[in-house]
Every structure is written in C-alpha cells, then in structure tokens.
Symmetry: C2
Subunit: 347 residues, 2 copies
C-alpha cells in the first residue's frame, strides 16, 4: 500500500514524489506554509491528492495556531485558506477542498476554537478516506470498460500517488486486474516532470502489473501499429460540457486515439467537476518554471538561456472523450446532461 | 557556419552531437570502424549527414588499407561497405551513399588502387558539397511556403547538424529568414535523444533565429491554441507513395497538424526517396537501446529494471503531408506521380 499523504501526530506526512523512483523519502510538514510549498513544488501532485493535501494543510494551520479569540481565528483562517488556494490554479479539487473546509469552519465556529480545530482535522482525515473509497468505486464501475488482455495507454500518473490511494485511472486498471483480467499498461513518460516514467511505472511495478514506458512522442506510433486497445487518464478539472483539463499532452493523446479508433476514457471523482464553467476555455492553465524543461533531474539539456514554454496542462474537448468514470457511475456523451445527473447524486 | 562533418588530412572530423549544447567537441576518426561506431552511437545523425559520413567512412577505409592486389581490395571494400551499411537501418541515405561509392569503385577499378583511393575520397567530398547545395536549393523552393511572421513547428533536428550544412527543414526556415521574413520556431524537444532541445535550439540560436523549446507533448496544445502556422520536418526515408519515415513523434505531430488545419511539410533531398518500396510499411524501424529512455544524460529517470520501448522512427502516411520539398522542386499530392517526376530529374 503506497502512502501518498497521511495525517499523523507528528504532522502531515508525504512521500516526496520529486525523488521517486530513485529515492523513497517521506517528509513531515508541521505548518500550513510548508504544506503549501509542498503542493507548489510538487512533493505531492495529482488533483485528488492536492485536494487532500489542501485540507490537511488548512487543518494543520489551524491546529498549530494560537488565536486569542474567534475573531482572530477568522482572520487567520482566511489567510491560511488563501495561502493554500494560491498554490496551483488548474486542479479544481484544491478549491473544492478549501470550500469544504470553510463550510466545516462555519458550521463548528459556534462551538468554539477547540471544536473548530478537531472538526477540521477530522474532516481532512474523512476526505482522505473518502478519496480512497471514491477511487475503489470508480474502479468497480470503470473495470467493465477494460477488456481482458487489453493494452491500456495512460498519460501522467493518475494512480495511488495522485490520490489518497488506489488511484483514478490506475484504480480502474487495478480493478480490472483484480477482476481477473490480464492488462498490459503503456505509460507515457510525461515530460517535463516524468510522472509516467518515474511514478506510474514505479507504482504499477509494486503491484506486479506489466508496464512498458514509452516517451510521449511514441504514443501515436503504438496506436497506429494497433498496439493500444484503450486510453485511460485522470483529470484536473472537468467543465460542465465534459471538456477535460489534464496533464499537458493529454489532448495530443486524445486526438491520436480518435484518429486511430481507440476509445479514450477519463477517470475522476465528482470533486473534479467544475459545473460553474460551461466549457474548457474557462479553465486557467498553469505555466510553470521554464527550468523544469531546461533541466532533467538537475542536468541541463538545452542551451542555458533557451526560451522555453511550460504549460502544465491542456484541455481535451469533450468530443474526444468516450466516457468519464466517476465514483457515482459512468458519464457518457452528451456530457452536459450526464455530468449534471451524476453531480446531483444519481448513480 | 556549423561544421558537422569534414574530410581533413588528419581524418574524418565530426562535431560530437551527443554532447551538445553543453560541450562543443570535435572528434577525428582515422579508420572506417571508428566512423561506423560514430554513426551507430549518434556522434553524427540525420539522414543526409549519415549519408556523407558513410561515404567518408568508406573512403577512409580504403585510404588506410594496404591491399596487395585489386582482388584483395575487392574483398576488403565489400567488408568496409557492409560494416558501414549495418550501422543504422532506417535512413535510406546511408544505403544510397554506399551504392554511390560502390559505383565509383567499379568505375575506377580498372585504373588501379591509387586511382580508386583518390576517386573515393573525391566522391565523398563532392557528396558533402552537393548536400549543402541541395539544402540551399530546398531552401529556395521551400521558403515560398513559409509566410512572413509564421510560427513554425519543427520536430527533431533537420538542420545543419543533420546534414553537411544549412539543413533541410531548418534550411527552408533559414531561407525564409534570408528572404526577409520574420520567423519564430517552436522546437519539440524530441525525446529520447533530445535533438530539438539540444541541437535545433543551439543551431538556431547561432543564427539568431528566435526559437522556443517545448516538450513533445506540448505540440498539440500550441496547435490547438492557434500558435502554430505550419510544421516542417526532415525525413529518413520516403516511400514511392509519399509515406515518410522520420524521427519518432513525427506521425503524432502530423496527426495533430491535420486535426488543427495546420499545413505539414517535409524537406528532404532526392537521396531520401526510396522508390523501390511502394509504401511506408516496408521501411525498417530501428529499435534502439532501452537505456536511451531509462536515462537522460546518464541520470536514471525510471525504475532501473523498467520495461521500455525505443523505436527511433515512425511512419507518417502520405495523406497527412501537404508538400515534400526537394532540391529539384516541391512534390504535391498525389505523391506517387510527383515524386516519380522529381526522381527522373525534372525541376
């Protein structure tokens, strides 16, 4: 069992995903600023895991505070929430988690500071557990889409490491394997952060699920050769019409899948839906440090002063998506309706 | 002026492309086995440059030999040609160069060993000069396809470093710039060997042509955003029907270009045509060492024992190609006819 993030008596413990697979280092964070920096610097990444980290960061911020009054805590709490919310712009789970913690704060505020503290901690632990349960439910629904002997391409890491555990896209693959299917995974290496080469390969190896790493530019070739039966990825934000923001490169994979008649699936919890925006054009795309492209594991690979672009996400229009797998069931096109139905709670 | 490969009195001198852009090291090879190894290990790469390297390797092999008779030289020459031809399977320029050297050998053999020696050396130097001239001619024809202010995406390195000089795809870009156009280049980094990030960025910087490096999985995103006006790439082998083998990832770029209404151009000399094969399915695709994917500049980025695929090329079907720019003119669909016409020598 991979321990991506945990609330412990010593602090919020995270597996440092910047160092995998060469080093397996757990870090303990004891204040909310450290948690915010861990999210920003991608010690923890993946939309659902960011949501849990945000909740735990907020709980930690309040837990370690020493306000003289509720009014003082109100001010402090707003600042903590704002610090956490400003870490990364694209994954909506971050804002969903902050809003949920704000609701708990409001609900327990009348009971006094100690009650607020314990309620926020409790809520973040519940969110952790709920996330794993959601992933298992996605797995149960989604595994029916993955036939026996399927060769499944995935992009980035939408696994245990991107969530509290089990994973979204990789959770569906795990569930298919647990159902007795033989599955072979192709993992895009996913430049620049190499989530596929470093994280997906590592975590599938832990489970003994066969995985072949390919560079991002090989995905089309393997589809063209008939070696990919379906694609499954996670998501960082899904608009009301089913447009999907996910790790840069997802759009390319989706276009290549369509061109080659390969089904393209997205697995994401309901917390990844952002029904407040009509389509993907409203999703802010994070631009990250150019040095993430200029260097790999600290080694320069471009001219030092090279101009570089580093958008961390792209948007896959809904017309490329065959199904969105959630913990409440599978949404099919037209997503405008099917996502609304799932969001209202129907299974 | 970038000196990719040169015949000198001291030997065949090559700029070691494995070390760029951090180190600019020239290596001198004094026998044909060293030249073969330099081709295999990608000290020199790019179809036209491989062709010139092959010719110089053969000339060097004969030049440094000491045969007792023409019959002995016949045997030796066959072995030299076979050693050179077995280095890399996909770029047809290699085999074209070997055949051309064989023709020179046959033609001068009646004149005796010293005449064979000098003719082979001369031919390799002529091929070097012809390659640069072919690239300049491609530039003159191709620059008309690149409008002023165009943002041009290229994949891999089809530049001076991939040829004797000036470049095929980058030659067309250079010619457009020389014609007074403002051009902005987007260079795919081109994993695993990073020809785009390391070589294309470096050589365009030398010429002061603006270049932005993107990871391979960003190309689709920038096309979708309307930031790419055309794509131009080189080729390693072009079949009679216009199917194009080129660096892995080219097919993906071509599909994304089609999906986004972006013209896709190929620039390659006539020596890259292989009219002996009807289509791209007959082109052998080189599978290279998995460690090229597992490590970047020697640094491991995957689990040590990870399964990896490493096809070095893919095939772009002719339906994605808008034009093939050669030194004899521009071929347009249907390529079956237009390539035949150019191959017969028409301008």
């Amino acid at each position: 069992m991979i321990r991506t993030i945990e609330w412990t008596d010593a602090g919020v413990v995270m597996l440092d995903q910047r160092l995998l697979p060469t080093q397996e280092i757990y870090r303990t964070y004891t204040n909310h600023s450290e948690v915010a920096e861990a999210i920003r610097s991608m010690v923890v990444r993946g939309a659902p895991a960011i949501g849990v980290a945000a909740a735990m960061g907020i709980a930690m911020g309040v837990d370690t505070s020493n306000p003289g009054s509720l009014a003082e805590l109100d001010v402090l709490f707003e600042r903590i929430c704002s610090d956490i919310a400003s870490t990364r712009p694209t994954a909506v789970n971050l804002f969903w988690a902050v809003e949920r913690m704000k609701a708990v704060y409001s609900g327990t505020r009348p009971l006094g500071i100690p009650a607020v503290r314990s309620a926020l901690i409790h809520e973040s632990i519940v969110m952790h557990a709920e996330d794993i349960e959601a992933n298992r439910a996605m797995g149960r629904f989604g595994q029916a889409l993955i036939p026996n002997k399927a060769r499944v391409l995935t992009h980035c890491n939408a696994g245990a490491l991107a969530t509290a555990g089990y994973g979204t896209a990789l959770g569906v693959i795990r569930a298919a394997v647990e159902a007795g299917n033989q599955i072979e995974v192709y993992a895009d290496e996913t430049r620049p952060f190499l989530q596929g080469a470093r994280l997906t390969a590592w975590e599938l190896q832990q489970d003994g699920i066969p995985v072949t790493i390919i560079t991002d530019n090989m995905a089309g070739h393997f589809m063209q050769k008939g070696k990919i039966d379906c694609v499954i990825v996670g998501a960082d934000r899904i608009a009301a019409n089913g447009d999907v923001a996910n790790k840069i490169g997802t759009y390319s994979v989706a276009v290549l899948a369509k061109e080659n008649g390969v089904p393209f699936f997205v697995a994401a919890p309901i917390s990844t839906l952002d029904l407040s925006i009509p389509d993907g054009s409203h999703i802010p795309i994070e631009e990250r440090d150019p040095d993430e492209v200029r260097k790999i594991m600290g080694v320069p690979i471009t001219p030092m002063d090279a101009k570089v672009a580093n958008p961390a996400f792209d948007v896959t229009p809904n017309r490329y998506v065959h199904a969105i797998i959630t913990e409440r069931g599978i949404a099919r096109p037209p997503f405008q309706e099917s996502l609304q139905t799932l969001a209202r709670g129907a299974a």
